[in-house]
């Protein structure tokens, strides 16, 4: 494991910061770079804005764009990290948070909460994330139970069960949305990855879950390396396969559910990013996991910039952009894996 990971990590982190700063300036009101930096720098030092114009820019940046940028970066990282873990764990280049039903389950939970508008009152803003969590965990547990034969968990079973659970959850979501016509738009926008929540609330809501999930995934990177050789070889190399796999699945599902709960279903990030990162920097998860996290953040920030500029002043749901990039990429990987290139 001599290939150094310091340099690519440094370069990608610099790229992430640059993308972040660019995303601050883009939107219906264009804020020049120097002003963006000035506002952020002053806010960090707690200095109030000097002019009317700086004050306006400050409001836009600090209450809208900064939290949105952070939300997108965290979501991208969480999705790419869990995709990286699923791909390694299931030894399948097409594995991503959608594969084992996590995202669709989270979607169903969220749609259920959006269409029934329950509970109302002080806890209503927590209803969507909490039911998304419940849905994701339920879906993953269901997939796991369906796929399990005896004491083992064959990969093919897992993938097939994931597809079945996923389709079922999506069908139920559609049914709920059609039945609750008044709420259709809100649920649809959410499902396409256009967050219905703005400001700092979702950022602070997402942070603890995503941080816990991503930290656990990073800590499990070495075990993931060994698990990629298959259960039997991993066990013969001294890994407690069942425990390691359980922790990884929980951590990846937590990251996915958190991301889905606060930003809706944003597809293909967990598929594309780990794949590209593996091509560029090899298969060692201790290098791949942190790089996937950073690149996932870059990718989603970039997609969000596009979502804000292509039809400006109207914004597109960012999930449309990622799907437009992701679907052709999906086919590309499919071709490659058929040719045994993975």
């Amino acid at each position: 494991m001599n290939r150094s990971s310091a340099r690519p990590l440094l370069i990608t982190t610099a790229l992430l910061l640059a993308t972040f700063v660019v995303s601050m300036g883009v939107g219906s009101v264009r804020i020049p770079l120097h002003q963006t930096l000035e506002v952020l720098w002053n806010a960090l030092r707690g200095i109030p804005a000097g002019s009317e114009q700086a004050y306006r820019a400050g409001v836009i940046l600090l209450t809208l764009r900064l939290p949105r940028g952070l939300l997108m970066a965290m979501t991208g990282a969480a999705l790419a990290g869990s995709g990286c873990a699923y791909q390694g764990l299931f030894r399948n280049p097409l594995a991503d948070p959608y594969l084992i039903g996590a995202a669709s389950g989270a979607g169903l939970g969220a749609v259920l909460s959006l269409t029934t508008r329950w509970p109302t009152g002080g806890f209503s803003y927590l209803a969507v994330p909490l039911s998304a969590f419940a849905g994701a965990l339920l879906a993953v547990m269901l997939t796991y139970q369906l796929a399990k034969t005896g004491g083992t968990l064959p990969v093919t079973n897992l993938i097939l069960a994931g597809v079945a659970v996923s389709s079922f959850a999506t069908a139920l979501s559609s049914f709920l949305m059609i039945n609750a016509s008044g709420e259709l738009r809100r649920a649809l926008v959410w499902l396409l990855g256009g967050s219905t929540m703005a400001g700092w609330k979702p950022v602070l809501g997402l942070l603890p879950y995503a941080a816990a999930g991503m930290a656990a995934l990073s800590a499990m990177a070495f075990r993931l390396n060994v698990l990629q050789f298959g259960d039997e070889q991993a066990q013969q190399l001294g890994v407690n396969v069942r425990r390691s796999r359980g922790i990884i699945i929980l951590a990846a599902t937590l990251s996915t559910a958190a991301a889905v709960a606060f930003t809706g279903i944003i597809g293909f990030v967990g598929l594309i990013i780990p794949h590209i990162a593996r091509r560029l920097w090899g298969g060692d998860m201790r290098r791949l996991m942190p790089l996937s996290l950073v690149c996932g953040a870059i990718f989603l920030l970039g997609a969000d910039i596009l979502a804000r500029v292509v039809m400006a002043p109207q914004e597109l749901p960012v999930g449309i952009i990622t799907a437009l990039c992701g679907a052709p990429f999906f086919l590309f990987i499919l071709r490659q894996s058929k040719q045994g290139m993975w």
Binding site: R3, G230, Q235, Q236, L237
Partner: protein
Amino acid sequence: MLLQTDIQQAGYNASPVISGIRFALPPGRILAMIGPNGSGKTTLIRALSGVLPVVEGSVHINGTDLLRAGESERARLLAVVPQSTHIPPAFSVEEVVMLGRTPYLNWLGKSGQIDEEAADEAMRLTDVARFRGRICGSLSAGERQRVILARALAQDTPMLLMDEPTSHLDLRYQIEFLELAVGLAERQGKTVLVALHDLNLAARFGDDVMAMKDGKLAAYGSAEEILTPDTIRAIYGLPVDVFPSPNGQQVVIIPS
């Protein structure tokens, strides 16, 4: 005795695949395991290496019961070269060999100088050091098998199990690989259990030969005792002729 096996029965679920397997191996011995398809060779190797769901009995290496030991402890006593070796193609050769050190590393997989040296030595002995930086997806089957052997050597165990390690290799690589593996094991004082399809390879490389049939231990003894027309016929149901090889050091077995 280094290895003491007493398996009453073992299998994938309640119905046993193998039963009544009792044998012991002194240190430094090469035991070749033969038997027809489905006779339980792979199942026995799985049972010994602790990956079979149901095993009743005990397997001791140097006094430690493998079936009740933790994964790391077991992996420090016993390394396995499996039949078909899946290597994720994006891993480099040295990354794979380094994974042999897993039972000695902590959760984060932080390796020290001892681990680096063990991996280097294993790569040197198996002659994979010269392509250590290459990606495993670009290796030939024979090279890949040597990488897995290097990984098993890096595990630094007193016992080595090999499950038909040469079944995907051509004739030259079969001989080269087994000579390398058995030679290294002998030099390092390792005890080896190797399942082989080819009876001539078993005759050539086994100090002892063990024959499996229908999940049971059908015969056990020196190569000369086991590789006779009568025993082979009893095990495979096929009449064979056994000749001394032209160099006189072993036997050659061909179907009659």
